[in-house]
């Protein structure tokens, strides 16, 4: 069997950026870590929980709570880490901006995993702008080795300069693997909690002094950063100087190995002295950075230089070697031998056996639709269901439904319900529901409880009965929460019992009062099925009505005349196709189980 990584104290191993951050947390003595799952950051806490028992790690209900708990642990003198995806930092922004004033007792490293290209996100925000606005230190690694090292550097900067440190990763850093030199864990004692009211209570009288200290801190770190190895000049041909950071640095080295490079590792505060030296060294400057012109705007504003940047490098989407090659060395593109072929897209779909399918099938059948939220069930927007019409952020389905009713009234709202997963409801849906009750809304909220935070790969949450380490935990009772919010009409239904699901939806959508439907059935990733059986199509009986195709099940395809069941995909504990077939042409021996 493979050894746990906390038994390996030396050598070189291949790690993803996320695994390297977890490794860094362990080696540099982090005591406590908290996060809410979010692609591409999720594996950081998962790796800590699986490999590094020395770190106390936990899932938080949302990123704000995660950062607050981590802040408290820092006040207690522990070294701490909090991880989140880029939009998670919006949720945690409230504690972040003031924690910046308060500073760190035990070192604080906050991971922001940005998603240029939006592989799995709803926007492309560049959190270097967030970190600068919060006046915290930002570090940007360009591979897994640096990701590990920067956790250690970040903790040291955090303690030496009394500041939270934002470690800004991107998807391509999080999910790329490269070689990492590893070492043993350095045990650092927890300093202990000592009250310090002037430091930690930002009433205006205190906060004014804190703000002055923050501005001085930024100047000090900028000066220090010009000497730090985290920022470096790689001197080459001085006719071209490239200023870059993060993964973009790797693309620059790939396509322009001869150029002089200023590699920025500390993106805030910028190392002005070093930048000035580089500007004076080279003839022409190009900024190569993903998403916003952060380095470009700040450096141009400071030194009033002429340079290329976003005029030749795209602002939207991820960079890659060919984009950088075309921009930096026009006309030298690699020969493309084979042409691009237009193909049908292969977007993600709800899995075969997914509990959400029953709910969306019924909603769609009733001519209804939903204000949606963040999770697998966002896929309810796809054909054939076409049953989701809005998404903003975690928890927004409920507020949006309430607002539509405020604008156009109960009649104008038609057959819209709010669709939100149980983990998202706990994250930030509860307050929306309280608002609906408090302000007299009449809509229907469908809490789709699949007992797992599924979209991010299957994580525990306060409703699942387990914690991050898989140990038993108290179960948050959603019915009681909803009752306590003041909702009078609450229905719990198995979404794979189609007649009951449809009846419940119809009755609650027709009701002139606020109601909550909890659809309850576990995600297929939450358990192992006991048997291996698949649905069978009887070609003699099939009348080709295509009702089964309206399920949008990836295990069912159409051969031109009748459905075909993919035996690798068909989920044993699901019989939705059997239920919808009007002539019993599809059968499945469920053995009394549904």
């Amino acid at each position: 069997m493979r050894k746990k990584l906390n038994t390996i104290n030396e050598g070189t191993i291949l790690l993803s950026g996320n695994e390297a951050v977890a490794r860094g947390a362990w080696e540099y003595g982090v005591h406590f870590a908290a996060a809410y799952p979010g692609t591409p950051s999720t594996e950081i806490l998962e790796t800590i929980a699986e490999e590094y028992d020395e770190i106390d790690a936990q899932w938080a209900p949302n990123e704000k709570v995660g950062l607050e708990v981590v802040a408290g642990a820092s006040f207690g003198g522990a070294r701490v880490l909090s991880a989140m995806k880029h939009v998670g930092l919006n949720v945690a922004a409230d504690p972040l901006f003031t924690l910046s004033y308060i500073g760190a007792t035990g070192g604080i490293v906050i991971i922001s995993a940005d998603d240029p290209g939006m592989h799995s996100s709803q926007n492309e925000q560049d959190n270097r702008l967030m970190g600068k606005a919060a006046k915290v230190v930002i570090l940007e690694p360009s591979d897994s080795q640096e990701a590990k090292d920067m956790v250690g550097e970040g903790l040291r900067i955090s303690e030496d300069f009394d500041t939270p440190v934002l470690l800004r990763l991107t998807t391509r850093i999080c999910h790329s693997k490269s070689m990492v030199n590893v070492g043993p864990r350095k045990e650092i004692p927890v300093k202990g909690y000592v009250a310090d009211i002037k430091k930690r209570v930002p009433i205006p009288a205190h906060a004014r002094a804190m703000h002055s200290r923050v501005e001085q801190r930024l100047e000090d770190i900028s000066a220090w950063g010009s000497e730090s190895s985290l920022n470096r000049i790689e001197e080459g041909d001085t006719s071209l100087g490239i200023i870059t950071s993060g993964i973009s640095y790797q693309y620059v080295k790939e396509v322009s190995p001869e150029a002089s490079v200023l590699k920025i590792g500390i993106s805030n505060p910028l190392p002005w002295n070093l930048i000035e030296k580089f500007i004076n060294m080279v003839d022409r400057i190009i900024f190569v950075e993903e998403n916003d012109p952060y380095l470009e705007e700040n450096i141009k504003a400071r030194f009033l230089i002429q340079a290329d940047g976003k005029n030749i490098i795209p602002l939207e989407g991820e960079l890659n070697p060919e984009i950088v090659r075309k921009a930096v060395h026009p006309g030298t593109t690699k020969e493309i031998t084979f042409s691009e072929i237009q193909l049908p897209a292969r977007p993600p779909a709800l899995c075969a056996g997914c509990p959400h399918r029953g709910a969306f099938y019924c909603l769609s059948k009733l001519g209804g639709s939903s204000t949606g939220d963040i999770g697998c069930y966002t896929l309810g927007l796809m054909p054939p269901h076409n049953a989701l019409e809005t998404t903003i952020c975690m928890g927004a389905s409920i507020g949006v439904l309430a607002g539509i009713e405020k604008a156009v009234g109960r009649e104008g709202m038609g057959k819209l319900v709010a669709a939100i997963g149980e983990s998202t409801f706990v994250h930030s849906g509860i307050t929306g529901l309280i608002d609906m009750v408090y302000n007299g809304n009449t809509g229907t909220v469908m809490i789709m409880d699949n007992s797992l935070t599924a979209m991010t790969g299957g994580q525990e949450n306060p409703t699942t009965g387990k914690n991050l380490r898989g140990e038993p935990a108290p179960v948050l009772d959603l019915e009681k929460v909803v009752t306590a919010c003041g909702v009078k009409n609450i229905r719990v239904v198995d979404p794979h019992d189609l007649p009951e699901m449809e009846r419940t939806l119809k009755e609650e959508m027709d009701r002139d009062e606020l109601s909550v439907i909890i659809t309850k059935r576990p995600c297929i990733m939450a358990y192992k099925p006991v048997r291996r059986i698949i649905a069978q199509v009887d070609p003699e009986e099939c009348i080709g009505c295509k009702l089964c195709m309206k399920l949008g099940c990836p295990a069912i395809s159409w051969d031109g005349e009748k459905p075909e069941i993919n035996r690798h995909l068909c989920w044993p504990d699901c019989d939705l196709c059997v239920q919808v077939c009007p002539v019993d042409a599809i059968s499945k021996d469920m053995g009394g189980l549904t």
């Binding site: 999910h175 693997k177 890659n320 070697p321 084979f338 072929i341 697998c376 054939p384 790969g457 195709m549």
Partner: protein, 193 residues
């Protein structure tokens, strides 16, 4: 020998692409190379397109393969093999599992599955089709399709057999080791010699 080898492994979510790329990375590492690989998790796991870029050699910078530079593309699904055609180097090889998985966009009538064989012929793609599903079925374990394919491409890459076998031994559970090593051997025999 050229200094860097570029490989793209592609297919659809759930086909074992990540395990295949892990085995390749481990084998390349054991053969003394610097290694980088890159892939995207998340939405792609719900049956969407999945790809993994693997680069190995003396010193690797970018974890992404550049267009026109892939020495080898290993596709676990036929249509997905076409999605990456621009990445093939002039001398590159396209090794494809003889398997078609219908995308939801085709099932729901938004698109039509393409005649992949005709496109491969029209574009003169350097394709080798591998009956990996049949071989895995003969071995009685459909989960080893990916290892059959890894075996099939192993003679095309500058990595010795011993490193592949060690990499597989390291990556698969002990009780499934024998069938995986057999799958590798069966795959390797297809191109061997």
């Amino acid at each position: 020998m050229k200094s860097v080898t570029n490989v793209i492994i592609c297919g659809t979510g759930g086909q074992g692409i990540l395990l295949a790329s892990e085995v390749l990375c481990s084998a390349a590492r054991r053969a003394g190379n610097d290694v980088k690989k890159s892939e995207v998790h998340g939405m792609s796991q719900r049956g969407g397109s999945v790809s993994s870029h693997v680069r190995f050699g003396e010193k690797i910078n970018s974890p992404l393969v550049e267009k026109g530079c892939a020495d080898l593309i290993l596709a676990m699904e036929k249509m997905e093999s076409l999605r990456w055609s621009q990445y093939l180097a002039p001398h590159g090889k396209l090794v494809v599992c003889d398997l078609e998985i219908t995308p939801m966009t085709v099932n729901t009538g938004l698109a039509e599955y393409q005649d992949v064989n005709a496109i491969m012929k029209k574009e003169s793609l350097p394709v080798t089709l591998i009956p990996a599903v049949e071989i895995a079925e003969e071995l009685g374990n459909l989960r080893v399709v990916n290892v059959v394919l890894i075996g099939a491409v192993s003679p095309l890459l500058p990595i010795d057999e011993v490193h592949w076998k060690q990499a597989i031994t390291e990556r698969v559970p002990p009780k499934a080791l024998e069938v995986n090593l057999e799958a590798f051997r069966k795959g390797m025999e297809l191109f061997g010699n």
